[in-house]
Every structure is written in C-alpha cells, then in structure tokens.
Symmetry: C2
Subunit: 240 residues, 2 copies
C-alpha cells in the first residue's frame, strides 16, 4: 500500500508498472530472498517494454523492495520496503549523541506501551518466540559476541506480538537509527540488558501487562541515562 | 545523514556522487523549491560524468530529496526527503480502517508527550506560531473548507516546539498516513477539533505541560473512538 497514493486512475505508465510489480510479488506470495521472473517474462506479464520495466525495477530497488544481483536476477529485498532514511533525517544537523537521545525519548514513550500490549495480545507461539529470542541475546552477550541485530529482533517480536502493525514497522526503524551508538556501548549496559530483557519476556509469558510495561520502561531509561551522561560529559569537556 | 550508513570509505562512485549532491544542497543552504546548478556545472563540481550524475539525481528523486521538472531543471523537493512509504507498509495486508486505528494508537502514545514537551520547551515565537496555526484551522473549519494539511501543520509545529527532532519528523508521517480517513470524517469531529486544538494551544502558551498533554490525549482519543466505532459497525454489518 502506498500510503500517499490517491485513488485516481489516471496514473502514468511508470507508476502502473511499479504497482504491477508489487502485485506480482504479493500475488505469488514472494518472500525476502525469492527471485522474480526474468525480465522478458515480467515485461510480457505487465504488457510494457523492457525500458519501462527496468525503470520500475530501479524505483523498487531504491525503495528497498527489490534488490538486483548482476547475472543472478532480481530478488525481493530483506529490507522489506523500509527505506534508507525513513524519517528524512538527511537534513537534520545534530550530533550523533543528540539524535540518539531523541530516538531514545521516542522509544521511551512507545516501547513500554508495546510491551504491555504484547503481554495482553501475544499468542502462546509468540510468547515462546520472545523467550527464545531473549535467551539467544543472553547467550551472545555472555560469549561477548555482537548482539545488536538479535537485540533489535527481540524488540521487533514484541512489537509484532502487540498486534499493532504500525508499531511493528516503526520499532526496527527506531532501532536501526541508534545502531551505531549501541555498538559503542556494548559492554557498559550488556549486564543490565540481560536482566531487563528477561524481566520483559517473563512478564509477557505471564500476561502481566503492567510488569512488562514497567520492565521495558526501566530497560530504556537505563539506555537514556547513559546517552544523557555522555552528552553532559562531552559538554563539560568542551567547556574546560 | 544516512542513518544506515557505516563509516567505511570504500564507497562506490554512485554513492559518493549522491553524498556529493547532498553536500551541495546543504553547503549552499538550498531550501525546498530552490533550483540546483545545471547538469554541466554539477558534473564538473563533483568531478563525475553526466551519466553518473543522472543516476545520482534519480536516486535522490526517488528518495523525495530532489524533484526534476522537464525543461526547468532540478529542484529541492518540498517533501524534505521523507520517503513515499516511510514505514514500509507496502506488504501489510489490512483494511484502511485497521491501519488508521493502528496509526491512531501510536499517535495516542506519542502526541500527548509531544504536547507536554512543547509546553515546557516552546519559545515565545513558537507559542505564537502554534496559536496562529490553531486559529487558521479554526477559520477553515468554520468556513467548511478543507483543513487537513493545516491541521497536520498544527501538530507538526507542536512536535517542532517539543525540541525532539525525531518526533518532529515522525508526526507528519503518522498524519499523512491517515489523511484519507480524516477527509471522510471531516464533519463528524470538526467541532471537537476546534475545541481541543484551542485547549492544547492555550496550555502550551501558559507552559502548562500537564494541561497540554491531557488536552492532546482527549483530542486523539475522540478520533480513536470514531475509527473504532466504524470498525465495529462494519463487522456487525458483515455479520448480519
């Protein structure tokens, strides 16, 4: 669904071709990593010329819906159509720490609510997935292995279990953007992360919405304090 | 800032050219609607061939950072780099009402916090802008004119005054996506919108953070109830 699209039918051919391609992906139930039919067949299916098709493919590549590999073909992107700079931060002039703090404030508001909804709405299968993911992250942290992407997946599973599709899409965006900071601070908060992730997962398993919400609140506040302290320390150092 | 970018220096020429173009926009302080130098000059400035430049321009057009007008040149887009489907909802299969409800739940969590922060952080100039925008929307509603984009601007000004750049970028995205529904429901909630917008704007002007937060909470809850009732009515109609 293009959320900006209006309902007019007089769309240019380029746009119709893009929609046709999306229709083919959806209609065939193609998942990330699946290959699309070849150029010749696609052009035939959509009743367009090769150059129109190529422009449409390029447009979907730039939207992270498709990915092309030279010689191998065109595939559904694992980025699931989440764009490169979803929030349009290209022209925002702030330091990395200030941006990280702003993202954290948004997470502080959203994610406790998500955890509470997950405790209410998660199916038994989702509860198990969340607990398994929690243990996976714990294992990585204990072996001092990189855990960032699995940490993000833990939060994404909670958002998915919340039943709110917008939150599900929003959480990876809010996390991706602070990835650089998490790497820097791996060691400082890893122990706390293990504890509070577990508290969240256990509360969700017990359908304890208040417990899940509060555990998430504390988890994110510990992150926020750390980023905040860094900014204050940086300002003090600059003033000295 | 490309929030996904890593810090490696071995980027392909295409990516470097894209970053060079962004540098030119930023470096010259170009704003939405401003025209870029012509193709010949741009290629010279970036030390690349015309075809590389054209690919880079296309890439920025697809990211809603630039817009090209045949014969007139290339301009900075008024969409400010906010992408077409920022949340990657292309492959989410839900009804418009269900998506609108999910967006509303996210707004319900975020926007009261935004209003509270705006009451604390708004400058006098921002307080005046918010009040003026509130009166503008009120005028449109009373004349039964379309008010959706000015309504969104009211909420964006609050997010801007909150001092959190991520919230500022997020609010238009959350509103754009529910634009279709607001138009449908123009008349039902217009009177309530006038009242609660005014309550929000007055509370911000008085630096009354709790009042601003609570007024926003009620404003959004009234919207949510309406969407929720529509979904229930739809289900009942389908069951009959």
């Amino acid at each position: 669904m293009n959320i900006y699209a209006d309902d007019k039918n007089n769309k240019p051919l380029a746009e119709k071709t893009v929609e046709g391609l999306i229709g083919i992906i959806k209609g065939n139930g193609l998942k990330p990593g699946d290959r699309l039919p070849n150029e010749f067949d696609l052009a035939k299916m959509l009743n367009v010329g090769r150059s129109t098709l190529r422009e449409a493919v390029k447009s979907l590549v730039s939207r992270n819906i498709l990915v092309t590999q030279r010689g191998a073909g065109t595939f559904v992107s694992s980025l699931n159509g989440i764009p490169t700079d979803p929030l349009g931060l290209t022209f925002i002039e702030r330091s990395d720490d200030e941006i990280a703090l702003a993202f954290n404030e948004v997470r502080q508001v959203l994610e406790p609510e998500i955890a509470g909804l997950a405790a209410l709405n998660a199916t038994n299968k989702q509860k198990e997935e969340i607990m398994r993911q929690c243990e996976l992250v714990e294992g990585l942290i204990k072996r001092r292995a990189p855990y960032y992407s699995e940490d993000m997946e833990f939060h994404r599973l909670l958002a998915q279990a919340s039943g709110n599709v917008v939150m599900m899409q929003l959480v990876p965006i809010l996390h991706h953007a602070i990835g650089k900071n998490i790497d820097r601070t791996n060691n400082e908060l890893a122990g706390e992360t293990v504890i509070w992730h577990k508290n969240i997962a256990v509360a969700v398993q017990r359908s304890d919405a208040v417990g899940a919400r509060n555990a998430m609140f504390i988890h994110i506040e510990l992150n926020r304090r750390m980023i905040y302290e860094k900014i204050v320390a940086g300002k003090n150092a600059a003033a000295r």
